[in-house]
Symmetry: D3
Subunit: 130 residues, 6 copies
């Protein structure tokens, strides 16, 4: 009834362990991030979220690196501290260099600025954009 | 005293025309988007914003296509209608396919979801993320 | 049971009319904005909101003009179309010039940009700021 | 000239103590939360905010539990750390079980996701919704 | 390559039709909302989103009505026009009265206000909240 | 490749030092804030951001105090902890009194509330606002 707590593998129910095992296998890591350990408080939420993330972040028309950059862009825009920390780490693991990080920040900063200029000036949508 | 209006080239002051010309040259377009025509109400803001955008969106460690995808990700997260319309168009021009757009939306959606799960569960930052 | 509708003075219950009258008297206007006509669907919400707004927006340590500029800054940051339209109009009525509007937009844009840079770089709070 | 500080009952002016007393009486608690102690720096803001919160959160067409769940949903969407902590606690006190918390997080996460999908795909409003 | 378009049942691929059919069956409706018709541009996104929404919005520890109220609360906080329209309609269908809607708006408004007061005053988290 | 770190003057490249020197000269301070030390990881981003901020925050149609109040309003709305701390300090330095801070918070809180009421009630824009 207090602050949510992380659930470690040793204390986890079988259906939670199954998800943890799949995360570790898929990502080739020894332990899952805290994010998953907290979601484990609700096994159905954990399972659904992991299966969606696994499907969405897989190699596709966009590479895993680009997808991680997008994840950081959203997390920074929302100001989610945990997400910025964890997805910056994932992006670096997926190949993000320091130069890329700097440009990522520059684009995210600029987009947040011009989004407000467009709203503030009440810019009418160009006919070409439909 | 009313709603801001677009300033067309024909009615623009010389320093505004100079920016419009540079946008058209840089982007190889016949006319600038409405966004710039509205910013033209404040020539200093127009000039500074364009010069920043030009520098930020240029080819660098990240390609123009990736930068446009990031711009869309931010604009969608902020719910900026004009920006979604204009940067989706720019992204398509820069090479975004329909398959890429679908995956972009999927990542942006998922990131907005997990950002809230991380905040709501008050997930502690993993030691590995510093 | 469908889309909320504006309630006009002629159709309003006495306690709604009383609020409308106070708005018109306080603001020296002939009719209230649509915002109040929609809130009139819930007379308690209408009354409480108006009384709070009236108290908050009154001349104080900050002038009504500064308060309207702040209102626009928040509305633009939130991307609230109605609020941008109505509070830009109020700000102009309170004395906002075109030059002020341009600088307001510039500050709001820049603040939205640097807010994300600070979050994205995970900037530690300076000791001086406590 | 520094960071705002909490004002304790012992150091509070009479009109602040009056509000603190009403909060303690209404909520049947021995002390008020930090939120109120900080607002006490501006007695008018404290009084108006408490009176609005008291009126809004009272039993009505919606129960206090549902209202606290809604408060958590908004706080999580905004990423407000203090508000998530304090309103999760209030919700638990009002009867929120762990199962409810898990479902609350699931709905909030999903709504944040589909909000962006609707914006990103620029979905036209169905005629039925007006 | 232009603005995304709705995909009608008659033009839909078999795997899209299968999802549309399941939505119609589950919700007992004659046609799906525009939201699903736009997502149909990416069949994998459509299927995953529907299956998640179906699972999340089902009767559980929280009733479908409470879940729809939460959905509206998030959508209003994010300012998502389409989502406000469609989930207000769903909430009404699930039993939301006009009195409930007014209180919902009041709570959402108040939560958005106090979220900012807590952030602006940099309120320290009470020891009791962990 | 880990968490971004502050770059101190002693360790900074010449083009970074040049920006630091200009900040110190312009603001008449002995050292720059952490914000600039982190941006120094990307010298081009540092230079562009500083030059824009310097131009935007200068005395103009709006005073530096009003501009700092606007900066705080945006930062509070976005819930950016670092930005609230640093710009509250700047605003105080520029002349913000405690009474002004209280009214600033009141306006920001109220604007965030009424923004949601306007969106939730789907208020139609008054003809007078265009």
């Amino acid at each position: 009834m207090s602050r949510p707590k992380a659930i470690e593998y040793a204390d986890a129910a079988p259906q939670v362990r199954a998800v943890f095992n799949d995360i570790k296998r898929t990502r080739k890591v020894d332990d899952v991030n805290n994010f998953w350990k907290y979601l484990a408080n609700d096994p159905a939420l954990l399972k659904r979220t992991w299966e969606s993330v696994k499907e969405v972040m897989a190699e596709g028309a966009l590479s895993p690196l680009i997808k991680e950059l997008l994840y950081v862009a959203v997390s920074v825009t929302n100001g989610c501290g945990y997400c910025i920390a964890s997805h910056s780490a994932s992006a670096r693991k997926a190949g993000m260099t320091e130069a890329m990080f700097g440009e990522l920040m520059a684009v995210v900063g600029m987009a947040n600025e011009t989004n407000r200029l467009a709203s503030g000036y009440r810019v009418a949508i160009d006919q070409a954009f439909g």
